[in-house]
Symmetry: D2
Subunit: 400 residues, 4 copies
């Protein structure tokens, strides 16, 4: 088998249908709403997901046995980019964060009971879920070991107490994935456990909604308190004290699917900017003919090409069961910074118009900014990449 | 006289008082309002300006004969940076865009009647003004020669017809400075005239408000239509057909005062981020001790130092009557990009917190973005700088 | 067939042998010579190529019928990176510029006679060749249409007159590929023809050797004069007046193989720097543990990963007969700039030592610099990429 | 006293004469020698310095009582930039590293005997000096505290033993400034002493010359061994065990004068590139009219303006006795990186020609590269800048 970038016919067809669907169905809703769904308007979500269901496009990443389309990561890399071409595309296809990653995690390490109860609900969009890991300072942030939320043994189960924030889609979620410390102290490398908690558990309180730069994730980001939140033994996802390892199974693919979706949005921004410079004149020439414009256009093209190539390589590693931690880290850093550059250039190319709401460019520019921070900041990933590089060099021995 | 960076005692004292005033009076209002005044809430403006008046800080740039403090550009460079430390500081001191530049223009080229009528009103903050130059495509934008708004001779005056947008503070303005073509065709290098138009002229309609990235300029940015807008002969500011030259008298200093104010805001963002990294731990160390954090901190410091040095040099050129066009262009490009970098690093340094509204970092990051576009985009200024450099080289003759 | 990054077993084995060969045979020679072969010392070349021949590694890119190993571009992308790990690796394997590209061109468009005469000679290293296209100002440079060298019809053939420079390996070459204008005038888009000229043709004079930044290409770069250089009709390579099209068949793969080799050299620089920071202490810690060091290490890793992914994608396009012009342009720009950054960071990581000759870092840093200029400058490629992007956008129609 | 960028008439006149001298006398020698004086050809040095002496331009920085022109740092900032316009200008004016900084140090902390013996010799160019601080790993490098060279008490003086490298101008130097540890252990913050050692001391051996990127400093950089190097008590410069403090008195101004000279060279590179793009055509237009060319030209102009403004500010701080450590660090980082960018763009602007020796661009590009490493690497300075910023923030208290 040789290096190959050919896309399966089936995947290509699905991507083409996704592209049409986004153009014909999703973008009109995006333009109407400004792509803003952080207030969690269920009618918007239902409308989009019903249409995607009718088009046979719902949950492309989910296993067929759970009602999805069964794409592997490589297939997702093609289709998610098309979905991401609108801020609301991933929501429409039900392959948006955090549900997409949560379903993936359930498929990977959930018990048959957990899978049977939740995957059909989540896959169909009847239920939504949240992933509750990040904590306010001095809790778990870039450094997950700082985890402070506690789960203590109680009769027949566990009692969870702690505070989380930046919990996407918390308001209205039917299911929470909660990371809590079951042993050790903040700063220890292990001792975490993942729990599945029903959204209507009285121990859960959404304290407030955060006013973040991005507004395109359904329900926005909230601060959530867990107090006397009692769950049964069956709520443990994976194994007790192995929560960080379980989260790893989610994080590497989740950061990659983010890259896929954001690449789609960056392409959209670029296309809008291209449309602008292809029509506007200044200084006696078409903008598209000016060298400083061409430089930005070309840099966008190059950034997209490199992003796509890195994504596909990492997807292949994951699909074939290889160690993809380093590749997804490198891809995440590159793509997060590339989509920042691309949307920034797109704003610049469209001039004053790019800063106003008439085009969605400034919205996209804002929307992708947090990606350099969440799912591991660029600094955290660079630190991990460097550590691995030095270790690998030491192992490899001398260089002349 | 030798190179000297000493600050006059009087200016230093004024800067110190401004710093205190901003800290004690302005920042509390900024935190309450989120720095958002694009809806033009007059009670906020009045409250701040009354306080500044009481503190003897109002209109530091305006001539003493008109009720201001009479600072030259060098003095402004010191005081405006302090004012800019809060998004609302310049509004409070009545040295914000567009009024500050408009007053400057009136002082420079207004007739005694025009000055007498408007400067006391504007200087005291009883009236506000707008500068109406930019037009929707294919009108005047980066390239002012594309000007399409027309002023035609009528009995005893002129009739202005055209459409403008990105007109800051248009809603509620008592006075409009309107650039209109009095001869020639769009694309011609001359033929423009500046008019002073009363805000209650029935020929002015604020068509809509633009939803821009920035929200810190009072009244925001609007689209304005001039239709059958008749003004008397005395409305001409400066000379007929010499409007572009008149605007130049405004533009060079106006872009420099923008730099001063934004430098102040960048310093604020940096200080907030410094406060964050000095208190938060991760990976077993204080954030402020991590090398990748230190790099960003140092780069912010360097960017601020270079910005300040460039600003002061350009201010000196203006104060001493030298040709400052190239220096203000270079300063504008550098500072606009530097404050973008500084606020971006500040967001990054504060991690997830930096992307949320709890700190004002993401607000500042958004707020400074358009500055790379307005008052001449970075590309337009670079083009002009390069042209001058090549011409100068040709004049200088051969290099070995 | 799905996206696949698997490397053929055969190619992987060849790459492994190349890696060993470079480590055991080539690098010792590189250290001895400082990688400097621009003086064209044939004993060095012969020694290396004889060893490669003995190891079964000679001419990996050449068709098996001509004595090579028959790798396609994807296979080359793997093996050339290993060869490039030493400045002298490509010379040793006889896959260095310009011979590698020249053989490729002969295989693509040479007549059976031309192939039979030259490919065994070149493939075995018995002969070397040069590609004479670039001319001193105001001739063909970034813009090939400026071509001034003329070939005029004479009895039974052509007479070539003109001046070329930056002709790599001209001194001692047995064969010149010469681009000359057979119709039209400088500035015209067509009218060029490629000729094969024997190195001992009395009409060829190597005028002088250029003192360039790079010293790792055999024989260096020379200025060459063609005067009354008469060749027979059979010297035409491809078709008369279709020389630019013929050159295109060479240029896209040639710029890609450059990328492959330079990526190898960048990896070498990175490995040397890694070895340095893994062993040196400063400020009470190992250099490799300092954040600003880790950032540079990580950025090198990311730059290499993105370069490799882009190269393999473009190689796949070429292998499968797709249009690869844009992909090779984007790859060339990215890789040329990436290897510049990587070698620059490597120098910086090794501190003062990096600037001295004890390590080869500063040599590599110098060596890759011209790659941002030759084979189409970054600016020229960006211009072409932007033109294609705008055209494609116009074709695709409206974006919301 | 207000902010002022006016240049004293006297300084301006001296700068103008320096400019002419460099153009008429120095550049011809530079073109002949390629600016390469690392082999220490005394006839070149003598010729240039005799001419400068005749022109009344020798040792502009040295006190008048020692035969110099007595410029303060601000005056030097103007004149040194002019001198630096040729690689050999500073050598000609005897204001090159390391002599310029060494004379400065002697003026600052030398005893009357030391000054009287050496300053007339050094100032007139009859003698040259070297500064021996940096050591091979694991000795003093970025981190001076790692100092390993020892000076032990002997009868009537000290015996110095140790190894130094990157000692500029060591070969042929009449005087060495040697930093040696007189107490404590490597890693300790204090315990260093500076000694003046005659060049003919038998305890000094120049072991080898380093093959560095730069070739423009007279005599190049050598590795030097001190063995049984006995000096009298009077050889101590400043106080015993206070050598690091003494070195600081040299380092801050010395790094600033480097900036001044390199800014001059960057300006030269820029001028050469400007001359090139103003004369060459491509793609049917003058290069100077292409947007991507203009961008690089403008960025060079901006980088030079910011460098100059930072330098003058730091010079003023030093002249007025203020703490300039942070300002010179920031200036050094900015200017070192700026001149790297400027020379890199200049090479790019001149295309293939820029990589060859016909112009001196590639020489300048190489020459300035080590400046990001020596006199404190960019990383070391950034670390120091960040530490100060965090400390200052902590002192200043809360920010809203």
């Amino acid at each position: 088998m040789a290096i190959d970038f050919e896309i399966d016919d089936e995947v290509a067809a699905l991507a083409a249908r996704t592209r049409e669907f986004v153009r014909d169905v999703v973008i009109p809703v995006e333009l109407e709403t400004g792509g803003s769904v952080h207030d969690g308007d269920e009618s918007v979500r239902r409308g989009l997901q019903d249409a995607a269901h009718a088009a046979g496009l719902l949950a492309p990443q989910l296993g067929r046995e759970w009602g999805g389309l069964g794409l592997d990561m490589r297939g997702q890399s093609v289709v998610f980019e098309e979905a991401g071409y609108s801020l609301l595309g991933p929501l429409a296809l039900n392959c948006s964060a955090p549900d997409e990653g949560n379903m993936h995690l359930l498929e990977r390490i959930g018990s048959p009971e957990q899978q049977g109860r939740w995957l059909p609900e989540l896959g169909s969009g009847r239920a939504r879920s949240a992933f509750a890991m990040t904590e306010p300072a001095p809790g778990a942030g870039s450094d997950p070991r700082a985890l402070r939320t506690r789960a203590r043994r109680v009769e027949g189960g566990w009692r969870i107490d702690g505070r989380k924030w930046f919990i996407t889609g918390a308001r209205g979620a039917s299911l929470f994935f909660v990371m809590a410390r079951t042993s050790g102290e903040p700063g220890d490398a292990g001792g975490a456990t993942l729990f599945l908690v029903d959204g209507d558990n009285p121990g859960i309180t959404v304290v407030r909604d955060l006013d973040t730069l991005d507004v395109g994730l359904f329900g926005g980001h909230s601060e959530v308190e867990f107090r006397d939140c009692v769950v049964p033994d069956g709520a443990v996802l994976g194994e007790v004290d192995r929560g960080f390892e379980a989260a790893q199974a989610r994080l590497a693919p989740a950061r990659l699917t983010h890259c896929m979706r954001w690449l789609g949005l960056a392409r959209r921004a670029h296309d809008i900017a291209l449309g602008y410079v292809a029509q506007r004149d200044a200084f006696g020439d078409r903008l598209a003919n000016l060298g400083m414009v061409q430089q930005q256009v070309a840099d966008n093209e190059i950034d997209m090409a490199a992003s796509r190539a890195l994504i596909r390589h990492a997807a292949w590693l994951l699909d074939t069961g290889r160690d993809a931690g380093n590749a997804t880290s490198m891809t995440k850093v590159f793509v997060a910074e590339a989509v920042g550059r691309i949307t920034d250039r797109a704003v610049q190319l469209a001039g004053a118009t790019g800063t106003a709401g008439d085009l969605l460019l400034s919205r996209y520019w804002r929307e992708v900014r947090p990606f350099r921070i969440y799912d591991g900041s660029s600094e955290t990933h660079r630190w991990a990449i460097a550590k691995r590089a030095v270790t690998a060099r030491r192992t490899a021995g001398e260089v002349a």
